[in-house]
């Protein structure tokens, strides 16, 4: 019986420590960012400006499409080498008229392609355009973008210079959140994009593999788009990730150009974010299944099968599951091995402190301009409650003193029972924060919901909110829920700001 109990306790401690693996991997990724200068592709670049077809899928984009086209026509790129194909996916608003007006304003540069039967998703819309573009041999490169994305004037030429090297199949840019005076959600996303793009893509480039071309900024050479079948995969919700994987499987490299900046309008509410990220997270689950033969199987053509990349991919995908596992293990240990639970929690939380202190300032320094706007959200990214727990891990004495003073002022003293209750709460909070984040989505459409949901997001954290979305994606995939292309609503607020 004692042996069994020791075995169970050891297993539970192992589960808690597995929760620290994503943190170790995150630190490893950020260390690689510091080594990015060793793997730059610039030595093989040339100022090459190929004939580029820009492909924009558009469904009810009247608020943004006109400005996007105007900005594209202001690119530092020869007009004779630029053609913009807007594929109107049976829009029901004024999108066709706006595109038609732009086609007349920029004859020979802007083309309106209309699909009479729409609603089949972004991939189907893109394939309609690709069919037209590939029909003649004018195009040397194709830029696939979203209707709301605004390109900096120098961005496209900074991307095409990599295609001068025939080993390169695709290039992606640094997409930034574009609402200069956005709300708290826009600023959270602004910070998150530095971690997910500015940092993650640099580290992946050091490893020689890119997980995903940004859907709003992917430049392909003609050879590459033909090599992947001349079509975009429409069987999953993550068509951009599938294209990225196929490109690398075909033996071509994918490059992230961090100095080519494009701006995108991102969701301004929890509900809109949920809709967008659920699609992305489900797409990632589908890609994991689709490329089941790739993971952890190193091969000479690409680095998709490398151990490092597999760890990065699965740590992100399984993060919510690992958090719940660690949390549940801690709660059980609390009742059957109180001291052991406390020690295991300390190890886990030490890893958390190191990760937070290393990653937060480094992320802000990677893109200081965005960092100046989003530093508050950066500090509260794990959630206010988690930040207090982190502080308690670093400064237990001073924090206990503050708590003691506050309790004395309030007229009661901290008893042993209180301390144990707080400990149990912190164990539960590890996964409970995801439930609170989910609550933020539930309350948002209700009266006072905007205010309440903002408070809940700050309390639970933006990171746990994304974990909650991933959990919902697991559930939907498991249930085989209908695959829907829920488009993110664009209002054009970013156009004015940029």
């Amino acid at each position: 019986m004692t042996q069994l109990l020791i075995g169970i306790k050891s297993l539970l401690v192992a589960f808690v420590l597995i929760g620290a693996v994503p943190l170790v991997v995150a630190n490893y990724q950020y260390l690689l960012v510091g080594l990015h200068f060793l793997r730059l592709h610039y030595r093989d670049c040339e100022p090459w400006l190929p004939r580029t077809a820009v492909l924009i899928p558009a469904w009810n984009e009247q608020a943004v499409i006109g400005a996007s086209v105007d900005r594209l026509m202001r690119l530092q790129y020869p007009r004779e080498s630029l053609r913009i194909f807007v594929v109107d996916d049976a829009s029901t608003d004024a999108t066709p008229q706006v595109i038609q007006a732009k086609a007349e304003q920029y004859p020979g540069n802007v083309f309106h392609l209309r699909r009479e039967r729409g609603g089949e998703g972004k991939a189907a819309t893109l394939n309609h355009g690709l069919g037209v573009i590939l029909a003649d041999d004018w195009m040397q490169a194709v830029l696939i973008m979203d209707a709301d994305v605004i390109y900096e004037p120098d961005s496209l030429r900074k991307m095409t210079r990599h295609l001068a090297d025939p080993r390169i199949g695709s290039v992606t840019a640094f997409i930034k959140e574009g609402s200069q005076r956005g709300n708290y959600m826009n600023r959270f996303i602004g910070y998150e994009y530095i971690t997910a793009q500015g940092a993650a893509r640099r580290s992946q480039e050091v490893l020689g593999v890119i997980a995903c071309l940004a859907g709003g900024a992917q430049l392909h050479s003609r050879e590459n788009i033909e090599a992947v079948g001349g079509r975009i995969d429409n069987s999953s919700l993550a068509e951009d990730t599938v294209t990225t994987f196929k490109t690398q499987r075909a033996g071509r490299m994918v490059i992230f150009e961090p100095h080519a900046t494009v701006w995108a309008e991102e969701p301004g509410s929890v509900v809109a974010l949920w809709k967008q990220r659920l699609r992305w997270a489900r797409g990632n689950v589908q890609v994991t299944k689709m490329f089941a033969d790739v993971w952890f199987r190193p091969n000479p053509t690409d680095r998709l099968g490398s151990i490092s990349f597999g760890l990065i991919w699965f740590c992100l995908l399984l993060l919510p599951a690992l958090m719940m596992l660690a949390s549940a293990s801690l709660v059980i240990l609390y009742f059957i091995g109180y001291q052991l639970a406390w020690t295991a929690f300390h190890v886990l939380w030490l890893a958390n402190v190191i990760t937070y202190v290393f990653i937060t300032p480094f992320t802000l320094l990677i893109d200081p301009a965005t960092g100046r706007r989003t530093w508050r959200q950066a500090l509260l990214f794990p959630g206010a409650v988690n930040v207090v727990i982190l502080l308690a891990a670093v400064l237990p004495g001073p924090l206990y003193w503050v708590a003691h003073q506050l309790c004395t002022a309030a007229g009661f003293s901290i008893t042993h029972g209180w301390v144990r209750g707080i400990q149990l709460f912190t164990y539960i909070w590890l996964s409970g924060c995801m439930a609170v984040a989910y609550l933020a989505k539930v309350v948002e459409p209700r009266p006072l919901g905007r205010f309440l949901s903002e408070v809940l997001v700050y309390l639970s954290g933006f990171g746990p909110l994304l974990c909650a979305v991933t959990t919902a994606a697991y559930v939907q995939e498991f249930r085989g829920a209908e695959q829907r292309w829920d488009k993110t609503e664009k209002t054009g607020k970013m156009v004015a700001a940029v």
Partner: protein, 103 residues
């Protein structure tokens, strides 16, 4: 003695060559070493020769050249290594505080 002087002269010439390469720009420096490398890089057909110096067609003479842009990008990426080092130093400080003052 004359051997030592010879060696110094040779070293001086080598240094001069390196400086010249650096002044010539990052790409100039690195490209030479990669052209005809065993990686077998080919020039993409239809691509203009390297004499195209401006970063983009119609650029004003005062605009940064292609080489300037590459140099700025490389320098930014090198700066990230320093930033990583700073962040690691911060972690060390926090851990030291925890161990020595609030342990």
């Amino acid at each position: 003695m004359s051997g030592l002087a010879d060696r110094r002269r040779r070293r001086g010439r080598q240094r001069g060559r390196h400086r010249g390469r650096r002044r010539g720009g990052h790409r100039g420096g690195h490209r030479g070493s990669h052209r005809g490398s065993p990686r077998g890089r080919r020039r993409r057909p239809g691509r203009p020769a390297r004499s195209l110096r401006p970063a983009f067609g119609g650029a004003e003479p005062s605009a940064p050249s292609f080489e300037d842009e590459i140099r700025a990008a490389v320098s930014y990426e090198r700066g990230l290594a320093a930033k990583a080092f700073l962040s690691i130093a911060l972690v060390v400080v926090v851990l030291a505080l925890r161990v020595y003052f609030f342990g």
